[in-house]
Amino acid sequence: MTEPRKNRLMQNVIVFCAFLNGFVIMTIELLGGRVLSPYFGTSVYVWGSIITIFMLSLSLGYLWGGRLSSRNPNHATFASFFGLSALLSLPIIFFSEWTMTQVFLRVEDPRYGSLIAATVLYFLPICLMGMVSPYSIRLLVSSEEHSGRMAGLLYFVSTLGSALGTLMTSFYFVLWFEIDTIMWGAIGALLLCGASVAIVHRLPGQATAGVQYHEN
């Protein structure tokens, strides 16, 4: 595979992963309300807790992902974000009941109960997913002059993914599947991202971080 072709393929994969990442974040966030409701209800502050923790996780993820991207940006690290966030999402399936029972028994006020439970279950995986955005911008940007354009493209696809993730989850997924099944789908999507970045990276030919984005 020639170098420009491989680079182009990698760019498309990165853009696609940013889309799926945005999709998965909102899917998990919407399901969060359902995961927490049997223990903390659906009062307005339960949603407050979930949104707060997601925003906080994402903001720190952006910060750390951005910092990490300034030191030897490479595709292997990028792929590992997805693998790790998939791994860190597993407790939402396997330990959420246990976690929430522990919190429920110790914290009487459902405001703080939901805040603590949301932190324990969602902080790490969502933080990792937040790191994807700045890191993927770094991998796509090669020159200062088109950095804004790349950032714009990344924001566009990831937020579009979020919009679709919200819509599909709330309108259809919850009607078609159980919560855990949807969570497995989200984890599968993350693994798909990690795998496709890793595979394209291993293809013969040199892919470099930060190359000119080719327009068709």
Binding site: T42, P110, I179
Partner: protein, 308 residues
């Protein structure tokens, strides 16, 4: 002369037409055109309106689509229940005619706890209401009063009942009425929730649930109740879009027992506009829903999507 009269009539007709279309437009825009809004209470969920028309005072959750009356009270006869479903709730007394510990999820205007307190002054009544604004309105506009016996808890019903189960609290009369019609709290309709309700129910206790009789949800909900409680009484009345589920842990009483329990309740319930004698015949246990529907669980509870 004649033409003048015709002209006059035409003009009057025009004026009426104009007035009519204006009022139609106005009602399109603000819904509560003919009702006097007595009060608007701010809430973190949705603002609550108290309206009064022809001596009938109502609590509403949505003034834009003004038809959603939650609770109404006839101010000339404040005791009488205005809605069918409120009267139907009293059918739970046929199963347990002497409740001592009552739990009510969903306050509304508070007419139900007020009536139960008047009938059973020694019974304790715990009321769960998620919205403080509803409690304020019930107290200020619907004569609802708290006391040592009657206590409201501003809390999500699921949270309170789960904790009550852990603390070993028991109730012998549980009313589930936390549905506004606009949004269905999906976590209050699952098998797991009903198991938690069962945990706080005494062996002789009764669960009375005000639910929907239309929409696809009917079958799902019925199957869910049956999965937890087995057979239950299904009470429906013509002219009401609601149905009331009456369930118990032990086998349900016979028709003879229901009728026997109804007799002494007739007089005490009369001031509330409840004709308890007409209920037993309408309480069936035969499933009239699609029994192949799956049970709603915490994992699968798209109640709002099914309720469309």
């Amino acid at each position: 002369m004649k033409t003048e009269r015709v002209l006059h009539r035409t003009r009057r007709l025009w004026r009426q037409c104009a007035l009519f279309s204006l009022s139609m437009m106005a009602s399109l825009f603000c819904g509560v055109v003919s009702a006097e809004v007595l009060h608007e209470e701010k809430s973190v969920y949705r603002n609550i309106f108290v309206t009064e028309v022809d001596g009938r005072r109502c609590l509403m959750f949505n003034a834009i689509r003004g038809e959603r009356n939650q609770t109404c009270m006839d101010m000339r006869n404040p005791k009488e229940f205005v809605f069918h479903y409120a009267r139907m709730t009293m059918a739970g007394l046929l199963v347990n005619p002497n409740p001592q510990h009552i739990l009510i999820a969903g306050l509304g205007g508070g007419t139900l706890p007020t009536a139960l307190h008047e009938m059973y002054p020694d019974a304790t009544i715990d009321i769960l209401e998620i919205d403080q604004a509803v409690v304020n309105v019930a107290k200020n506009f619907f004569n609802f009063q708290e006391s040592e016996q009657v206590q409201t808890h501003v809390v999500d019903a699921r949270v309170f009942i789960k904790r009550a189960g852990l603390e070993g609290k028991k109730y012998d009369f549980i009313v589930l009425d936390a549905f506004t019609g606009e949004y269905i709290p999906e976590h209050l309709m699952t098998q797991e929730f009903l198991e938690e309700v069962k945990q706080v129910l005494t062996p002789d206790g009764v669960v009375v649930a005000n639910t929907f009789s239309s929409s696809r949800l009917y079958s799902y909900e019925s199957e869910t109740y049956r999965a937890v409680f087995g057979d239950f009484f299904n009470l429906k009345m013509s002219g009401s879009g609601n149905r009331v589920i009456i369930a118990q842990q032990k086998p349900l009483p016979s028709m003879g027992e229901l009728k026997a329990n109804a007799q002494p309740l007739f007089e005490p319930l009369k001031p509330y506009g409840v004709d308890i004698l007409e209920f037993p015949a309408r309480m069936g246990t035969r499933p009239d829903w699609d029994q192949t529907r799956r049970v709603l669980t915490d994992q699968f509870s798209p109640a709002n999507l099914l309720g469309r």
